[in-house]
Symmetry: C2
Subunit: 335 residues, 2 copies
């Protein structure tokens, strides 16, 4: 049912062989100008459109890269995808996206489904149990991890230094005079969340404060819920570090509802620097992970791997570590 006019039809219509037709259409130089014109004219008249799968099969090159994400919901992923898209356009690549993979198994399944349809893979799989992932994923395909894998670090990747970022967040709150700093954590099985939690705990230890960790799942609802817990306590914290911006946002909402003043009563800081932090009131301090850039740079890295050779090359590729940058906004600025 797909484009039913084939190169063969064009060739016939133009009165040349299929080989010449192919050459003419692909702009090779070894065809007479006259033949080229005839072929292009025929192609135009017949509305010929090359068949991607056939071309891919013949050339074993798809000009497409697969993107595997745990989710595609929210600004964080939107930014990632945008970064990837921008990079892809620059390299003339298409992207095949697959989101919503709750665990390693699904991610692997998605990756398998992409085999033969992509030239390389960009994978984000922040699962704690991902040791087996690296064994199952690479079917000779160039691969770049976004955000690190569970087990080994032998895959080329772009990872955010979550630990340092969290540490910095805590130090910042401490400097602003906070003495009771709580943390809304991300999903327990999430590697990034784990690192941010570690950073928080070490930060509190460094400051000689006692920690309070509330569970969360990276959604605004979790931030809101966490705040309800805090409000029910006899003593509220005076500083709050949320493992990501969405939770910080939810917390802000809950606190505003309860009439708690930000940052005077409680200073808040998130993580990631998604666009919406700027529109919150007050605007939310955060650690800028450069989400967009992670997407774009991952793609560039992958693209380079694909050009350079292939799978083996990827083993040699260095992993890039992105150090997040503290962005202080009104939610934590006490002057």
């Amino acid at each position: 049912m797909a484009a039913s006019v084939t190169l063969n039809d064009v060739a016939k219509a133009a009165g040349v062989s299929i080989a010449s037709a192919s050459r003419a259409i692909n702009g090779l130089d070894n065809v007479t100008e006259e033949v080229r014109e005839r072929v292009l004219a025929a192609a135009g008249k017949l509305k010929y459109v090359p068949h991607g799968a056939a071309r891919a099969l013949a050339m074993s090159r798809t000009n497409t890269i697969g993107v595997i994400l745990p989710d595609i919901y929210g600004e964080f992923f939107s930014e990632i995808i945008r970064g990837i898209d921008v990079g892809a356009r620059a390299s003339g690549l298409h992207i095949l996206v697959s989101g919503s993979h709750g665990d390693v198994k699904e991610a692997v399944k998605a990756a398998r489904a992409m085999a033969g349809r992509v030239d390389g893979l960009l994978v984000m799989a922040p699962y704690a149990d991902a040791d087996d992932l690296s064994g199952k994923l690479p079917f000779n395909l160039p691969l770049v991890m976004m955000g690190g894998v569970g087990g080994q670090a032998d895959l080329p990747s772009l990872v955010v230094d979550n630990y340092s970022g969290a540490l910095e967040a805590v130090r910042h709150l401490h400097e602003q005079g906070c003495r009771r700093i709580a943390h809304i954590a991300g999903p327990e099985s999430n590697l990034e969340a784990q690192d941010r939690l570690r950073g928080y705990l070490d930060g509190l230890k460094e400051a000689g404060l006692s920690p309070q960790v509330l569970p969360g799942d990276f959604t605004d609802g979790a931030g809101y819920a966490a705040v309800q817990t805090l409000l029910a306590q006899e003593q509220m914290p005076d500083g709050l570090f949320a493992a990501n911006d969405m939770m910080a946002l939810g917390a802000t909402l809950g606190l505003r509802e309860a009439g708690v003043s930000i940052p005077d009563d409680i200073a808040i800081i998130g993580f990631d620097d998604i666009p919406v932090t700027r529109y919150a009131s007050p605007p939310i301090s955060t650690l800028r992970a450069g989400v967009f850039d992670i997407g774009r740079r991952s793609l560039e890295l992958l693209s380079a791997l694909i050009e350079r050779g292939s799978a083996e090359a990827s083993a040699s590729a260095a992993s890039l570590i992105v150090r997040p940058e503290l962005v202080v906004r009104a939610s934590s600025r006490r002057r």
Copy 2:
């Protein structure tokens, strides 16, 4: 360089013909249990992964649908994509995304590049000059338009009733007591924006008010800029209808900065109901277009077209019109 172990290798390793190997792997019932086991064992040992392009070529079925968007930036598109993704997962389809198409030409180019790699196309092309699009796009591929085309409406599509929505927005502001209602318009060449503008103009006429239209481009920056213009006037409007939520958001920001009270001094309403409207302060009234649903339902429609038969069927498919729903939040509620 792609997955280099082929079905042939597996067949040999299992000591069967390639046909049997194919059957075993695809779970057809006409293979002995013993053969199936041998094949699966071999496939596992060799880490065989089927080659997507080859399969697609042989079956002329890709289980992938192409998505062509003018942009993939921001919550609006994020929501659309999410809706599509959810629908796609439900139908076992993959999605090939292409964003950032400034005009019809690019959109057509993207669509061509997808031919032979997808079973159908989901296209959003809100360009005013899109008359020629419908002539160039469908290369026998099932196609669903999201948001309407310029010229003809003979393509199956899911369109938002922008005109009615805008009319409703204006009526709402009028009911809240606004008498000087300004409009921040979307891009001039954008069809949706044009309809919203028409609705606004007719609404004002209906109310016997005189219109003021400020240019915009759907970005928060444009909303902010528009507000600066308004602030410079001798008399501010007391109502503001932005052609989309992002501009409403930008306007809110600008007004808050200037110390203008919302909704008392000026009531604001946007369009689309993207998630961030809820987090703004005050939360922004809007017209809920059900962006997520548009994505999901478009995909379902397309999926049905693909199953049902193909291109011809699409001619018969009705276009669905989505009527936006007024969502009143604090930014326009004067009680």
